[in-house]
């Protein structure tokens, strides 16, 4: 399995990247970590005529807190993000999810932005972006725009980025309330395999233990990670008792239309994704109470 021939260029800045994208045809591709693109090219499911290598662009790497947002530059390696104390502190849900992403070898190369742009329905980083309403910043020669996660993930493996655009960063809102907890649960065949079903939740409780804020999303059971608006609405204001969570989550089976494959059929995914959501919400509640 060898990739078809292509041209290769390395760029040193975001401006250079945008210029290269503007000048290249629509079949040029950016390469960041390459942990999905290179296999796709080996199998010739992707056949770009030109690879524009954005590894090594300093302004595309880094992790920082800006106001109430955790900002991760697009080319930051997953391994560095997982090891970051800033991420663990500002967005522990993302840190938890990252430990399920790939293996040591792939996390050392794979990037946060690459995973977002790849938009795999089972991938953890897009799931957390959707759960927390992250914002993506995209740049092209025409300028910069911000895209909410709800508008970024169009379909499986498809985002709303234009061919001439480069994702430059992702911004995760930080929940400052100390009575906040998070939960992340997934089922996969082996540790680090793609999730058959996954769920992420973040909740804030008031002094009486009632839920004032809840975000929940699931992955692996729909073409993109899916926010569970009806579950959030049903549970906000409750004490998040096991019973309440279970009742509110019954609707999930009707919300999803999972695809079956060789690893798990659609019925299994529909059932297990509901269980993952229940566990994620319960974990978020338990942590918020601590």
């Amino acid at each position: 399995m060898k990739a078809a021939p292509f041209d290769y260029m390395r760029v040193a800045s975001i401006d250079e990247t945008c210029k290269a994208l503007a000048e290249a045809g629509d079949d040029a591709r950016l390469i960041a970590g390459g942990q999905t693109l290179v296999p796709l090219m080996a199998m010739r499911m992707a056949r770009p005529s030109l690879l524009i290598d954005i590894n090594g662009i300093e302004e595309l790497t880094g992790i920082a807190v800006e106001g109430d947002e955790l900002v991760i530059k697009a080319c930051t390696r997953q391994a560095d993000t997982l090891a970051s104390d800033i991420v663990r502190e500002a967005c522990p849900l993302l840190a938890d999810a990252l430990s399920h992403v790939g293996h040591t070898q792939t996390r050392n190369r794979g990037t946060v932005g690459g995973s977002l742009c790849n938009a795999d329905p089972s991938a953890e980083i897009p799931l957390i972006a959707r759960t927390l309403d992250a914002t993506m910043t995209a740049r092209s020669a025409a300028g910069e725009r911000r895209i909410a996660a709800a508008d970024f993930f169009d379909f499986a493996m498809t985002t709303s980025l234009e061919p001439q655009e480069c994702l430059t960063e992702v911004r995760f809102p930080i929940w400052r309330d100390p009575d906040t907890g998070h939960g992340f649960h997934e089922v996969s065949i082996r540790d680090s395999d793609f999730a058959l079903a996954a769920a992420a939740a973040q909740a804030t409780l008031d002094a009486a233990g009632n839920c004032t804020r809840l975000n929940v999303a699931i992955g692996g059971a729909s073409p993109t990670a899916m926010r569970l608006g009806p579950v959030e609405a049903a549970l906000t204001g409750t004490d998040l008792s096991d019973e309440a969570i279970k009742d509110a989550s019954a609707v999930i089976a009707d919300l999803v239309e999972p695809q079956g494959d060789v690893h798990a059929n659609a019925d299994y995914r529909r059932r297990v994704v509901r269980v993952m959501a229940i566990r994620a919400i319960a974990s978020a509640r338990d942590e918020a109470k601590e």
Partner: protein, 159 residues
Amino acid sequence: MSEHTIKLTVNGREMEGRAEARTTLVDFLRDALDLTGTHVGCEHGVCGACSVVMDGVPVRSCLIYAVQAEGAQITTVEGLEGADGALSPLQDAFWENHAMQCGYCTPGMLIATHALLQENPDPDDEAIREAIGGNLCRCTGYQQIVEAVKMAAAKMRGA
């Protein structure tokens, strides 16, 4: 289609070769630099047989094009042995525990666990299993590999 001259440091030696852009790092190491210790397995990032250390961390050399490794510091399985050609404590422990059957996955297993021991001199079973989670052994000789890594770790700590 572009062809490139690639200069990089492999096992402490500066090396140079030419390759098409589409040549993966593992094919470049084996075919252009004659370093055939690194094995080609699945060629699409599933098996881990091609693991090498690049700029201090283990990566899959089938998922990096050689041209991307310009200027990089690479350690392959050939770089693990001592200057006198003796097996490293880790390699010796693999031999001692018979931590291989067919041996195909062995270079990747050695690189993955070498990188682990650089970072964590006293890994428990779980850390070792996590470190080789991205490396397939189809003979399923995982148990001996875990034993070997523990033995090597103890020896390297002077325990």
